[in-house]
């Protein structure tokens, strides 16, 4: 075999091993989540569970790069650093561990390795509440209203915003969002673009037109393929962010641009 030629046999072996890596890694993440749950529930042996978490993370770190997922190595490295930094694995720290695990799972489930800069920015801006409050990246007292369909994604984003330091207000519908925005005056509104009855963009326009809510910043969450397709003529106070694994990086970019970070 000369250089530059592909070896179909080699390609097939590597494809099989990559798939196996993904499946094994998902099992490992399940194990870590199991340890986190047991520790949160005061069940299991803390020393044993902590060692198991470290062992799984270390293994993932060592193998991710071999299968086209250097981002997993970066996230695991950051998690190992975090576990080194903290004095104890209390409730706040366990939620932080879960946040890291969510990130790693995002990469695995996407099957794609994110851009290096994106990963670096996301790692740098991780909203870790288990560290001292002085290290919280967000200015104090910020509130956000979240409008998206009920489900696991909303739960994840809500938890992420909370750990970031936001007071989170959940709106169940676009109409209740208008009411809540007028009443509670959140600093930031985050909404899915696709909603029942009216779109996220229409909601942004409505809130922008009401004097009581015109001060807020609006983050419109879209799938990446929606960007540029039907979002022409965005109002000035609206910023588009990506759903899923790009969300965190986009949020940090937005907060930084708005000078909302310490």
């Amino acid at each position: 075999m000369t250089q530059g030629q592909t070896d179909p046999d080699l390609e097939m072996i590597l494809a099989d091993m990559r798939q196996e890596f993904i499946e094994n890694s998902e099992d490992r993440l399940d194990e870590v989540e199991g340890s986190v749950s047991r520790l949160l529930a005061d069940a299991g042996r803390p020393d044993h569970e902590q060692l198991e978490i470290k062992r799984h993370v270390h293994t993932l770190k060592g193998t991710g790069g071999s299968f086209g997922f250097p981002a997993i190595t970066v996230w695991c490295h950051a998690l190992e650093d975090y576990l080194e930094t903290i004095k104890e694995l209390g409730v706040d720290q366990l939620w932080d561990v879960q946040l890291f695990i969510d990130r790693i799972r995002d990469v695995l489930e996407s099957g794609l390795n994110p851009d290096d800069m994106e990963v670096a920015a996301a790692v740098k801006g991780m909203p870790l509440r288990g560290l001292s409050r002085e290290r919280s990246p967000l200015k104090a007292g910020m509130s956000v209203m979240l409008l998206m369909p009920k489900g696991i994604q909303r739960k994840i984003i809500s938890r992420e915003l909370t750990t970031f330091g936001f007071k989170v207000i959940i709106a169940e519908s676009s109409l209740s969002a208008v009411d809540l925005a007028i009443t509670l005056r959140p600093d930031v509104v985050i909404s899915s673009h696709v909603l029942d009855r009216i779109s996220g963009l229409e909601l942004a326009r409505v809130l922008g037109a009401i004097e009581a809510t015109s001060h807020h910043k609006f983050l419109l969450m879209t799938a990446s393929d929606e960007i540029g397709a039907d979002l022409g003529g965005l109002p000035d106070h609206v910023t588009v962010v990506r759903k899923g694994r790009g969300f965190s990086a986009d949020l940090i970019k937005f907060l930084s641009a708005q000078k909302l970070l310490n």
Partner: protein, 121 residues
């Protein structure tokens, strides 16, 4: 087909590399630390050794030094496995007697090519 000894304290690395090499037709033996590695080398007489450098109890540097001081085993090529690929570490790898090195995380096509270069003809 050639026999390759993998000496690495990380189960996952041994399993992954071992499975890959077996799939490519190599015979694979494994050891989980330097001491066991020396025993396996003497017993199994591999054609090539993949040696992790960062192991507890006996480092890969030390194990390689002992192999290269053994007249029965010194002819076996040793390829170091290391996440540290800076110039200083590379110098240390060759000074320890290694015949080459592979960076971690493992790039499998590169692994195959490097092994091919160092196996006795």
């Amino acid at each position: 087909m050639a026999k390759i000894l993998i000496i690495d304290d990380a189960d996952e690395t041994r399993t992954l590399v071992g499975r890959f090499l077996q799939a490519k037709g190599y015979e694979v033996v494994q050891a989980a630390d330097g001491n066991e590695g020396l025993e396996r080398a003497a017993q199994d007489r591999p054609d090539l050794i993949l040696m992790d450098l960062n192991m507890p109890h006996m480092t890969g540097f030390e194990a390689t030094g002992l192999l290269k001081n053994n007249s029965d085993l010194r002819h076996i090529p040793v390829l170091a496995l290391s996440a540290e690929t800076g110039t200083g570490n590379r110098d240390a790898i060759y000074e320890a007697g290694c015949d080459g090195f592979l960076a971690k995380p493992i790039d499998f096509p590169d692994l195959l090519q490097t092994i091919g270069k160092h196996l006795p003809r």
